[in-house]
Symmetry: C2
Subunit: 152 residues, 2 copies
DNA sequence: CACAGTTGGTCACAAATGTAACTATCCATT
DNA sequence: AATGGATAGTTACATTTGTGACCAACTGTG
């Protein structure tokens, strides 16, 4: 038998690490707000850019349009975001956070950043080169140019 | 507004990279054999250890028992693995690859290793420290001690 | 300005995954 | 050896996700 040690295999390791980190991260926004990952991504994107179409959110947060559509609806029902028709293109809607949504965003962001900081601090001096290498890896696997991807 | 750039946020980046790598990796086993990720993980584990219970496979490949159960059934229907009752514990079954399963395994493994090698080569000298740091990260996020996790 | 092809968004359906209940067996204690 | 609790594995059900069809509105070409 040729040998491949699954636990050493890079795609497997990356997936496990990403899943574990996301799982831990859930403790940041889960308990208080009970968001799903797609909802978190939409919130984060709108917090970052103020106003955006669903299409643009999907591009920026790497989610398929149906995922965005559902997350948007969920956030709308929660009264965290509002839609208004676009003037230039009446197919699309411009989405913005409501005051309530902004409040939640402002609550979560510092916790998210603290979570990330803590993680990087635990890595110590290795964190800097790690981030650089991840950047290169992103280019190699063409993370930038993918259509409907996945989770945080 | 406080700011968090989603595209720079570590959990998000890890997820995207992992998803992209897995997606690319699919090209290794997908076209020829049309496996799912859970099936691939079971195959890889049995290829690595010859004979194993479903429970042990789940532990080693970080999958929930129902995922393992379904993947095992699929591989069994494909005639890639066989079950036999365990002597010591009649609740569990010992799973092994059939000749056909071994053949597929031996076909896929070199491609998988080549895929990984290619990825690491593209990273060049950064690949070595990356792997080390991933090891540390695995410990920090306690990848080792999780129950029913996820994908490669 | 009419028509063909494209695009933003939603919905219905299918496939995949997680959760909980259940069966059979094991193990420990009495 | 009988009972109570754990454990391996499967199944049924709920939830999430992906796929494709669809509608309305846009764009370009003639």
């Amino acid at each position: 038998m040729a040998k491949l040690q699954l636990e050493q295999f890079l795609p497997y390791r990356l997936n496990r690490i990403a899943a574990a980190v996301s799982q831990d991260f859930r403790s940041v926004y889960g308990p208080h707000h009970d968001l799903t990952i797609p909802e978190w991504r939409v919130l984060a994107t709108l917090g970052q850019f103020e106003a955006m179409s669903a299409k643009a959110i999907g591009r920026h947060s790497a989610m398929h349009k149906t995922k965005v559509s559902r997350a948007v609806r969920a956030l709308e029902e929660r009264r965290w975001l509002r839609r208004r028709p676009s003037q230039e293109d009446r197919r699309e809607e411009i989405l913005t956070l409501t005051t309530l949504g902004q409040k939640a965003y402002l609550e979560i962001v510092p916790k998210a950043l603290a979570f990330e900081r803590r993680l990087l601090e635990q890595l110590g001096p290795e964190s800097e080169p790690l981030l650089e290498t991840l950047g290169r890896l992103e280019i190699i696997v063409k993370v930038a140019t993918r259509a409907g991807d996945d989770e945080t």
